[in-house]
Symmetry: C2
Subunit: 434 residues, 2 copies
């Protein structure tokens, strides 16, 4: 990998998400050589992916070049690659671009979509964990409407306009809200020859409430907002299969749809090579102690979504979202510095600042530790928090400008099929029409 020798011990960080970037910032100009690896050359602000998918924001507004973050850091290297394996015995990682020795290894690979082993669903449905995936969803939504204007068969046309979102967590709920806004603000005007009332947004949830990680009060408010926007909510229903056309469930309910977006589960994006003991198989997360040390290893750490720290308050590990990742990255940075100074590490304690979700124009729900609210004020809080959390002044400014424009103009100009998504054609056309 062409990393020069250094007198400092080498920390290798796999992943430039919330956890990895936070750790990198803490290790700036400390007595370490740091090598940060990622398969993308940018950090993704995942909470806004759904706005890229629905044409409200451009991809570039929620991505930030990793090299720019570390531009002035000394003895700090970035390499664009994907790690194939960890060789803990020889203290090295094996990657597409060669091997690399580490003194400390930090796994911050995040999470990926969990299809619970159903290959057919995986093949036929869309997921939304990365920017390219979000752009694929955007292309597919628009391609479906371009096809819908062409077909004469009503059932086919309705299937093209039927969007089924599986999983009513924050991603599913926010996406459902954005699709409903898109229906009113854009699709109705852009496709005057379609009866846009036939467009359906179906949100399918396995248990009895949406946003089930939030308070009952927020769930109820979110559900009310969604219903008002015309989203159909199906609770206590589990999707059992999707062949690209028909969705079957564990009840009598079925859907005919060209588009299934799967947000029903996540699992750790693990890297092979660790002892079986360090892995929680069901969700592919890595078991860590209170210092984020991987079980069975002294110099390997895991932070963020991939790490599962089982505590009394969080017996299944912390929620897989930005806040625990940032806090763990932060503390691990401090702890590595303490280690280098021969001081004892500090145990991690999660400071739950609350959670929130937006459902559409003027609508959001916010759970703070002792206070829950929803509506217009919650929506402003949501926007403010997301704006200040974006890295970089220019991204903040461009996102703000887009939001103001979208709000005032009731519009989303990002309805662009820049790269077509080549779904195996749902409809075929004969060449005899004039």
């Amino acid at each position: 990998m062409n990393i020069p020798a250094s007198k400092n011990p080498r920390v290798v960080i796999i992943g430039g998400g919330f956890a990895g970037i936070q750790l990198a910032k803490k290790l700036k100009n400390q007595k370490f050589q740091v090598v940060l690896l990622d398969k993308h050359n940018y950090h993704t602000f995942q909470p806004l992916l759904y706005q890229v998918a629905t044409g409200g924001l451009e991809a570039g507004s929620i991505a930030y070049p990793i090299r720019k973050v570390i531009q002035e850091y000394k003895d700090f290297y970035f390499r664009l690659t994907s790690v194939k394996e960890i060789d803990a015995v020889n203290r090295k990682i094996i990657s597409e671009i060669g091997d690399l020795h580490y003194d400390y290894l930090v796994i911050a690979t995040g999470s990926k979509t969990n299809y619970f082993g159903n290959k057919e669903i995986e093949r036929n449905s869309m997921s939304m964990k990365t920017i390219p995936q979000s752009l694929n969803i955007r292309s597919l939504i628009l391609e479906n409407f371009e096809q819908a204007v062409l077909v004469k068969d009503e059932a086919e046309r309705n299937a093209l306009m039927n969007f089924v979102l599986v999983g009513a967590g924050p991603t599913g709920v926010e996406l459902a809200g954005a699709l409903a806004e898109m229906k009113k603000a854009i699709l109705q005007k852009d496709y005057p020859d379609l009866n846009i009332e036939k467009m359906q947004i179906n949100l399918v949830q396995g248990d009895d409430r949406v946003l089930n990680a939030m308070t009952v009060k927020s769930s109820a408010a979110a559900e009310k907002f969604l219903v008002k926007l015309g989203v159909r909510i199906w609770k206590n229903v589990r999707v059992t299969n999707y062949d690209g056309r028909t969705i079957t469930t564990d009840s009598d309910l079925t859907f005919e749809s060209a588009t299934v977006i799967w947000t029903a589960g996540v699992q750790g994006a693990k890297v092979p090579g660790l002892n079986a003991d360090a892995l929680i198989e069901r969700i592919e997360r890595i078991r860590v102690n209170q210092y984020n040390q991987v079980k069975g290893y002294e110099n390997i750490f895991a932070i963020g979504d991939i790490a599962s720290m089982e505590t009394q308050k969080y017996p299944q590990g912390h929620p897989m979202m930005a806040q625990p990742a940032i806090q763990q990255g932060n503390l691990l940075g401090e702890n590595l510095i303490r280690l280098s100074q021969k001081k004892a590490m500090k145990p991690f304690e999660y400071n739950d600042k609350g959670s929130m979700a937006t459902i559409g124009r003027n609508k959001a729900v916010v759970d703070l530790p002792h206070y829950h609210f929803s509506g217009v004020f919650a929506w402003f809080v949501w926007m403010f928090i997301h704006l200040i959390s974006l890295i970089g002044f220019k991204n903040k400014a461009v996102v703000f400008l887009n939001w103001v424009y979208n709000y005032i103009a009731f519009d989303r100009e990002g309805r662009l099929i820049i790269r077509p998504y080549k779904k195996k054609s749902f409809v075929t056309f004969t060449s005899d029409e004039i």
Copy 2:
């Protein structure tokens, strides 16, 4: 194509570029049914493609949804498709999504890159006529630098940092300037482990001056600016081949380079089906009379880059750029309305408003009909003209904001490899390095 019957005659427009969109606007709510066809669902502002390629702007900022343009036009349809053939005998076009009858056909398909028949150059080099092509160039530039930090062989590393632009027209010159800015503003800071002085930008021109369609004075000024930015200019040199690694020319000069961007020629993007007589084979443009009527057809028109109207002042047809396209689209709209009122059509006369090119920060050249200037003021004029020419308030605002940011911060945050460009690997790595 599922277009309803209409009492009005049907105008089919192929292409939503400058000419096609301008014509569409003129035909708004007139006594025609209009069907606009394009293979993209957006209009591209081509003059700023080079800024997308060099990370200064996001793709979405220079694209505008075609359906939004025609949102409130009556009896007006857009279809996303590519036209395979014109069947003039039966007055219909044959497309991927079916056939369509026309009363009037307008070909506004624009132009594409001309490799003058050299398939090997075509296969190995990049072109920049569309947004996806520009994004590919952006990805390739950044991928080359990510590879350059890895290789130990100096010749290979230099080839990865050597950019050869063939053709010093406006596209080649603007791209060369932007690459030179990128070198200073970004690459130098992002890749501290590379000796960025080794990065070369070579601009190869077949005749004896850059911007040879502009005045001699502007050519000289542009050349001075380019040299000042470190661009190497090679005049009176023709590239004869590029195998993906070595560029050969008609002189002793050769280059070793991983990236050739070909801007040395354009040709019409013709649609098959017209009589041989209507085509100018060498540049694949369509012969039109002074009403933009295609030679040999009464109800088929061609406008913009694809049309070649040979006049005394322009014996080879008008220059293939935005202004003639817009003016022809405008007049043809008027003429079609006149035809429907049984009035005589007006002949086209090109109003040359001048031309301009920017070379980098504070540097541009402007040729007005009777006045030529260069430098900072020309640069402001260039920016102003391009800003007001962009369609849509939001695009204007976002581009302006990006330019201000890029100028003040000496930065371009669009250095993102969203979709990797999969060039056949230039370098292979062995897995034995630690």
